[in-house]
Every structure is written in C-alpha cells, then in structure tokens.
C-alpha cells in the first residue's frame, strides 16, 4: 500500500501547490531513485530494488511532514487551513456570526470613535513647534478665582520676562468690517507684536508683526487667516498691502497665515489685528490673555518663579491704583488651558465605552461557549484522529480571530461615521476639535481593541473547549449533554462579570440624567421665553466718546420699543447664562482692609427697562429709572445673593459703595434689590451681582447686547431690528443673533450630551447583560431537560421548577450586582465634577439602578424558566 500513500502524498503535494512542499518532495524522490538505481546495480530486480529503497527510507509522509515543519511551511499552512475552516463555520451559522460581529462592531466602533476624539483633543500635541515650552499666564487670588491680565501687568511682564522667554498678549473681539456690500461682523483676535513669534508659526505669505508695531503711534496692521483670505478676498495674491476697514479704522494687510493654522484659543478668529496698548493709568481692567514661551532649558517651575517675582515688582509699582495681596501671576501649560474641563467628560466617556467593549466581548465569549457544547463531538473526533491540544486551541482561536477582525473592520466604519455623529450632536464647541481625525494612532487603537476583545472572548472558550478527556463526548451519543463543569463555572462567572460591568455604567448614566433633569428645573431667575438677543458692537472710531454711544443706544431703544409686537427692549453688557464681567467693590460701612483682596461681584451696565424685559423680580427698593442719568446721583441695583451675603440682617437700600478699586470716585447708592439670575450658566451658584445704569457707568458701552421681549416668535423680529439699527447707523452689523431659548439650550447642552451618551452606552450594556443572562439560563434549561423531566415525574410542582431556574439566574445577577455596587461606589466620585444637584453616591439613583438591573435579569430568566415548566416528562425521558 506504500505506493498508494506515495501517490496520495504526491496528489496532496500538487494540490497544496506549495513551493516548499514540492521542493522537499523532489529531494526525497531523488534520494529514493538514487537508492533504487544503486540496488539495481547491485543485482536486485527493479521491483525489489524499489521496495528496499522505500523501506530503508522510512515513513515518507511522516518524514515529509517533519521536514515541512522544520522548513517553516507548517505555520502558514495551518493558519490558512484554520482560517478557511473558521470561515466555513461562520458561514454555516449566519445568525450566530451576525450577532457576534455586530456586537463586536458596536463595541469596537464606539471605542474607536470616542478614542479618536480623546486622541485629537487630549493626546495630540499642540500644532506648534516645541509646544511644551508654551504657557498661559493669568492671575489668581484663590483656588477658584482666576482672572486676566491688565495692560499695566502685561507691560511689566513683557519687560522682565524677556530674560527667560517671550510673551504676547491678546484679546478676542468681534469687529465690524465695512467697505463691502454691507457691514459684517467678523471675529478678531487683537494681538501684540510678538504673537506669531511666541507661538512659533509665521504667516505663509507676507510677514508677521514687526517689533514696535504694537505701539499706539505705529500704523495699524493685520494678519489674515487663510479662510478669511479665500472667502472675503477670493484668495487674491495682491491682498497684501491692501487696507481693511475694521470698526472704522484702516488696517494694512501684512500677512496671511497658512491653511490649517490652529489658533491658540478656543475661538478661531478670521484675522489678527495688531493690539496697540495705550499707556495705562491704573492696573485693570483685567481682560488680556497672555501666552509665554520659555527659552530652551527654562523649566515650567523656573518660569513660574520668575512670574511670581515680576508680580511682586509690578504690584508694588501700581499699589496706589489696585491692591490684592493674595493675587499673583500663575502659568499653566497652554494645552491644559485650551482643553479646560472637557477632559474629564472625555475620559469618563472613554471609560464607559471601554466597559461596553468588555461586555460585548464577554457576550461573544458566552455565545462561543454555548455553541461549543454542540461542537464537542467534532472536537473530540479531531482529537481522536491525532490533533494535538495546542493545535485544537489554535484552530478555535483562529475562528475567534476571524470574528474579531470582521467586527473590528465593521467597527472602524462605525467609528468614522460615529465621530461625525458625536461631533454633530455635541452642543458645545469642544476645544481642539479640528484636531480630530482617524490617524495611525486611532487605527492602532482600533486594532488593539480588536485584539483585546479577541483575547477576552476567544482564548477562554478555546482553552475550555478543548477537553483532554476524549471519551466522554464521544460516548454522549451526539447530544453532548455532559457539560464540562469548568465550562459551566466559566459561563456563570462571565454572567456575573457582565452584571458587575453594567451596573457602574447604569449608575453613571443615572447620575448624569438625574443632574440633567435637575438642571432643567433650575429657575434661571428670569422668563426665557419670547426673548431675542443681539450683540451690537459700536466701533470706537465712530463713537469715541461714551456720550455718543449712550445717545445711539437711547435712540435705538426708543425706536425699537415703539415697534409693533415689541413689549420692551433694553441693553446690557452681558447676557444671562453667558458669563459676565466681574468688578471688585468696597462698602462704605465695611471697607476692604488694605492687605486683603477686595470682594468681587458680577457687574452689569444696563438700561432701566432691563429687569422688566427679562422678568427679573424686584424684591426691595426700586428698579433703575430714566432719571438715573448722567446728571443724577450714581445708583445701582444689587442681587438678592449680594444683599444676603454682604448685608446680613441689614437693609441694603441706601448703603453706599465704590467699585473697581477707584478711590477718588463718588459713592454709588444702592436703590434696589432684585432676584438672582444665573449669570455663569444654569449649573453655577447664585452669584452676587451689581447693575448700574448704562448712562452712568460707561464700562462696556461700545459692546452692548440688545434684548427684546416680543409677542409671538422672537426670531422673526431680526429683520425689523436690523432695519431700525441701520436706519440710525448704516455701518453697524448685528452679531450673535440668538433667542434666549437657544441660550438656555446651550447652557443645558453639555449636561444633556453627557446624559445622552452615557445613557446610550448604559442601554447597550443593559441589553448585553440581559442577553448574556438569558443565554446562560436558557442553555442551562436545555441541558437540564432530562433532569427536569425526572423531577416532574417524581412530583415536583411547576412553580418549584420555575423558582429553581429563576433562582439560579438571580444568584448570578445578584452576585454581579454586588461586585458592580462596590465598583460603582469606587468610580462615581470621578464624576463628581460633572454632576449638578446630585451626590456621586446618590442613594436613590443607586437603588433605582439596582432594581432596574434585577428586574431585567428576572425578566430574562423567566422566559427560559417558563419553558422549563412546560417540559413534558414523558418526552424528556423517552428522548434518552
């Protein structure tokens, strides 16, 4: 029969079409031929010669196999075999394959999508040369209170910091561009001469600012963004040297930034006009942003120490105009400053999707384990035919890997689409969001996720499925009803793990949704419906004196109030919820001691009708009135919080104070107390606030917002407002037109976003856990049909059977819930900063979530349990 084997080997060799195999064959054949010839030479008959040659040679197939293994062809061939076999198995069970791939795709896709945002926002370095040397500089006088830099501060820093680096100051402002078809509001970042040099990116065309161009006597210049150049100037290469009219001042275009240049701020400006600093007369207002670049070799600590030293010098020099003994200059890495608090949200989301991926993998592992019992026979037969344990594990693992790769590929598609979706539903502009893209890092992460999930769901079943005890499954007669105890334990453990993972996710989502609902019920302190808000910046060139601006506003308010459908119209320096300016103050009755920082409160300059327009209630005294004008005594209205905090047990009406550290000013008299308004956003604390008449306090007089209360749809009043404004000044443009409802939605947005995303992830987790426990219990029931039949035959009642099956599920889910509770308690404190009005260990949320999870488990178990009670003992027994 050797010839047959030989022939087979030949056939197999050709069929493999494998170069290595062929080569080995040729060589072995050569050997046998040589021996045969030699034998014939020695006088044997050809037949005898050949037989002798073969018998001396040994088992040719085995030798070939061994050779093949040494030559390294084995590995590849096995992989190919396993892959083809695995693919066949997947195609054979399309339902299973579909569910598994979809589960994995969701897990990997969600992870990759969130990671690509984390990567873009948190991980990628800032797109400037040596970004680690860049710092943001601000002032700080307590752990919570940070504020900007004044001109006096900046000039002090600029002079002294030159020894260890360079600094630049900037401020963001909307400006009106005139000279086109109609005036237009554009976003500008006014920056000092060293701006581009400090961040390290130069204009692509033209030049950056020159030293000295930021002095007031120099002629104004501007650098354009690529987008603005393309959009407004049609990419005209002759743009450099042109003049642009910004707020009525002519700026010469000197440079154009490269395409894709990312501004070192959360807003992306259209252009960068030079910031020309006037010689200050006092320290304040603190409105400039400052970026510093340390020289090479200067550590952040050294930079900070130097800033502290400069602060002492500058503060002493200006002590006669402003004192705050607790304040100093503080530097923070620019990247950290730009990211802000979005980092926590992103990391929480990443943790959540990580849990989801783990859950998905565990579910697939469970599916594979369940399926394994039906494959026990197949595996046993293969083992009996001589497949080694390692070989079988490898084959099963290859199948899992195939699943994981399919899931990973589908997940990557989901991720690309998911990132767009995540960004589209994101309410806030996430800083650095333009850095988000699918790059090598993201692909690597997706690959890692795939591999990780494959290890979780593939390796365990593979190891457990390969049962070294061959006899049992073969004896089982094909039903495979003897489950390996180790495997049953593993499946139970997996279900416990699923519940333990799902619980923290549900708790997190519960807390977020709870916060969101509470936030939604927060009283903003005014009536937000039917309010239209518009920013109305006045160019300083055209309105150089405060009086001109005041007159403009008076005339505009008169005309707009008279419009049909407008209930009332007013102006304010800052809109509610959007964050405002603060000012320090000193009470006549309790002056700030010289070595202490002055108290601060939100500071508004408003028209008298402001309170009526917004619906802010009067609590004491009176509102501001038309009589509180330039000629009247300086007056203000304060908020309830301020009254309670600074005048406890006193009547604030008639009390006097001075603001802004101004010592020579007249006293301002408090004439009324109004309700608190959420100034910094719905989740912010009620803050002390001061409201002054706009014609007494000229602060911010050129950057007022118009608010009007309308009848009917507020947004429909935009055209008439524009017409009225332009009938007074045709060069003015409206900016940031929003209804108050939109501002409310924006303030709720972050909270809603977090609640929504975590809610979705938690729902997925809940579904996966439910499917997981259902699968295990249903499988257990099918395994125990025989036993249940006997129990019923012996007189067990149906409800006993039901209780037994459900009890099994409940033990598993409760064990999981126990572990999950511990994990949740340990984890939710990281959410604390994202919550509003709910403690991170809110008992109600915890109890609710546990109940929900247990109910779902109960439901998932009761389906198979009902099936168990319907077992017909005769059928079950006869089936044996």
């Amino acid at each position: 029969m050797l010839w047959l084997r030989n022939l087979l080997a030949r056939v197999v060799g050709v069929w493999r079409a494998d170069r290595i195999g062929e080569e080995i064959d040729r060589e072995l054949q050569f050997h046998i031929d040589m021996r045969t010839e030699e034998n014939i030479r020695r006088g044997m008959s050809p037949d005898e010669a050949r037989r002798d040659a073969l018998s001396r040679f040994g088992h040719r197939t085995v030798i070939k196999e061994r050779s093949y293994e040494v030559r390294g062809g084995r590995w590849l061939e096995t992989l190919w075999q396993d892959t083809r076999y695995g693919a066949r198995m997947l195609v054979k069970h399309p339902g299973f394959s579909f569910v598994a791939v979809l589960t994995l795709a969701l897990g990997i896709g969600a992870n990759t999508a969130i990671f690509s945002i984390v990567n873009g926002v948190l991980l990628r370095p800032l797109p400037y040369p040596e970004p680690e040397r860049l710092d943001t500089v601000f002032q700080q006088n307590s752990a919570m209170n940070r504020f900007g830099i004044s001109v006096a501060d900046f000039q002090g820093i600029e002079k002294e910091y030159a020894k260890i680096g360079s600094v630049t100051a900037f401020t963001h402002r909307a400006v009106t561009l005139t000279g086109g078809e109609r005036p237009e509001q554009i976003k500008a970042t006014f920056a000092t001469a060293s701006f581009f040099k400090t961040i390290g990116v130069m204009p692509e065309r033209g030049r950056a600012f020159l030293p000295g161009e930021d002095r007031p006597e120099a002629s104004p210049v501007v650098v354009l963004s690529y987008g603005f150049w393309q959009r407004q100037l049609a990419g005209n290469p002759g743009a450099i040297g042109q003049r642009l009219m910004l707020d009525g001042v002519g700026y010469t275009v000197v440079g154009i930034m490269p395409r894709g240049f990312v501004a070192p701020s959360s807003t992306t400006p259209d252009l960068w006009p030079i910031l020309q600093l006037q010689t200050p007369r006092r320290r304040g207002p603190f409105v400039l942003g400052v970026i510093a670049r340390r020289e090479r070799g200067v550590s952040p600590q050294q930079g900070q120490a130097e800033l502290k030293r400069i602060a002492r010098e500058v503060f002493t020099q200006w002590a006669h105009t402003f004192r705050d003994e607790n304040a100093t200059y503080v530097s923070m890495p620019l990247k950290q400053a730009l990211i802000g608090d979005i980092g926590t949200t992103l990391l929480v989301l990443l943790g959540a999707v990580g849990c989801v991926l783990l859950l998905a993998s565990i579910n697939v592992a469970n599916l594979l384990l369940a399926r394994a019992s039906t494959r026990q026979q197949e595996i046993a037969i293969r083992a009996a035919l001589g497949a080694g344990r390692l070989r079988l594990v490898r084959q099963l693992f290859t199948e899992s890997l195939l699943l994981a790769l399919l899931g990973g590929a589908a997940g990557l598609f989901l991720a690309v689409w998911g990132v767009d979706l995540l960004l589209a539903i994101s309410p806030v502009t996430i800083p650095r969001i333009d850095q988000v893209q699918v790059d090598g890092f993201v692909l690597g992460f997706a690959a890692l996720g795939t591999l990780f999930s494959c290890l979780v769901f593939g390796l365990m079943p593979a190891l457990y499925n390969v049962n070294p005890n061959l006899g049992e499954p073969l004896k089982g007669g094909g039903r495979g009803n003897a489950e390996v105890p180790g495997r049953r334990r593993l499946r139970n453990l997996l279900v416990i793990a699923e519940f333990a993972l799902a619980l923290p996710l549900l708790v997190g989502a519960g807390l977020m949704i709870n916060s969101f609902m509470r936030l939604q019920q927060v009283d903003p302190g005014f009536k937000p419906d039917h309010l239209l808000t518009v920013q109305l910046p006045l160019p300083a060139l055209k309105y150089p004196e405060a009086e001109q601006a005041i007159n403009f506003h008076k005339e505009m308010l008169r005309r707009i109030s008279a419009l049909p459908g407008v209930r009332s119209a007013s102006i304010t320096t800052d809109l509610p919820l959007e964050g405002g300016h603060t000012n320090d103050f000193s009470l006549e009755v309790r002056p700030t001691p010289p070595d202490q920082s002055a108290d601060v409160a939100e500071f508004f300059s408003v028209s008298p009708d402001y309170f009526r327009t917004l619906g802010i209630p009067l609590l004491k005294g009176r509102y501001l009135s038309e009589q509180d004008d330039e000629n009247g005594l300086p007056v203000m209205v304060i908020s309830e919080s301020m009254a309670r905090r600074y005048f406890p047990g006193e009547d604030p009406i008639g009390m006097r104070l001075k603001t802004g550290g101004c010592t020579e000013c007249e006293w301002t008299i408090i004439v009324g107390v109004v309700g608190d308004v959420k100034t910094e956003g719905l989740s912010a604390e009620d803050d002390s606030a001061m409201y002054c008449p706009f014609n007494q306090e000229s602060f911010g007089i050129r950057s007022m917002a118009l608010v009007l209360r309308t009848e009917g749809d507020a947004a429909s009043f935009v055209p008439v407002v524009r017409r009225e404004v332009n009938s007074i000044d045709p060069d003015l443009a409206l900016a940031d037109i929003k209804t108050m409802d939109q501002l409310m939605a924006k303030s709720l947005g972050q909270s809603r976003y977090r609640g929504l995303l975590l809610g979705i992830f938690a729902l997925v987790a809940l579904t996966l856990a439910a499917v997981g426990i259902y699968g295990v219990i249903a499988y257990a029931v099918s395994q125990r049909t025989h036993e249940i039949g006997i129990r019923i035959a012996l007189g067990a009642r149906r409800q006993d059977i039901f209780r037994m099956i459900v009890g099994h599920g409940m033990i598993l889910s409760l064990a999981g819930v126990g572990v999950g509770l511990a994990a949740s308690l340990a984890l939710t404190r990281y959410l604390a900063s994202l919550l509003y009005g709910v403690s991170s260990t809110d008992p109600l949320t915890f109890v609710g979530v546990v109940l929900l999870l247990v109910c779902v488990a109960l439901l998932a178990c009761s389906l198979p349990a009902r099936r168990a009670t319907k077992v017909d003992p005769m059928v079950a027994l006869r089936a044996e």
Binding site: E23, I24, R26, E27, L28, F30, H31, D33, M34, R35, E37, R56, F57, G58, H59, R60, I63, R66, S67, E69, V70, R71, G72
Partner: protein, 111 residues
C-alpha cells in the same frame, strides 16, 4: 550466517555525523547518507529519510548551506555545504563527544 550487530543512532548524534560527512566538500542528501554509512562501515542503523529533517534543521541554524545543482548522473539534486559556523560547531561537538565518551568509559570501567 551470523548477523552483523548494528548500533542504533544515539539521539542528537545524527547532526554531528552530517556535519562530519560534509567536511570533505558539498554533497547531496543521498551522498551524505552514503558517506555516513561508509564511514561507519555499515555498523549503524539509520533510517535514511530522517536525514532530511536533520539537514533542514542544520540549514535553519546556519551550519550548512544548500543549493540546487546537477548530480553525477545528471539529475537535478540539492547540494549541501558546510558553513564556517558549521565547521566551528563540528569542533565543539567533537570535543563534547570525546569528553562524553571518556567519562562514560571511565564509569563503566570501574568495577
């Protein structure tokens, strides 16, 4: 006819014999087998096929090199050649073997 007493090959010694056989110059696999038989004066029992996995293993380790050539009877055959590393390895193995034999011999001679 008294049957000749043949020795089974000790585990791991085949590699050494192959290296030794190749010291006289390049040879194909069949030649290596013949050469070993000839050197052993037919006193060794070697399954001829087992030469090949051993040859491939030695080649993997870089002790021998192979290329296709033409045999003495004009057929294409794979020829093996000792490399410098193989020559060094042979020296090492010969020394080890000598030491092994002398030690075992000493043990067996003491009564």
């Amino acid at each position: 006819m008294a049957k000749q007493q043949k020795a089974d090959l000790l585990q791991g010694t085949l590699d050494m014999l192959i290296l030794k056989a190749l010291t006289h110059g390049p040879m194909h696999g069949y030649g290596v087998g013949q050469r070993i038989m000839q050197l052993a004066e037919d006193m060794l029992r070697v399954e001829e096929g087992s030469l090949y996995p051993a040859l491939y293993r030695l080649e993997e380790r870089g002790w021998i090199k192979s290329e296709w050539g033409t045999s003495e009877n004009n057929r294409s055959a794979r020829f093996y050649k000792l490399t410098a590393a193989g020559r060094r390895q042979l020296n090492v193995e010969e020394e080890n073997w000598a030491r092994f034999v002398s030690v075992i011999g000493k043990v067996l001679q003491t009564s």
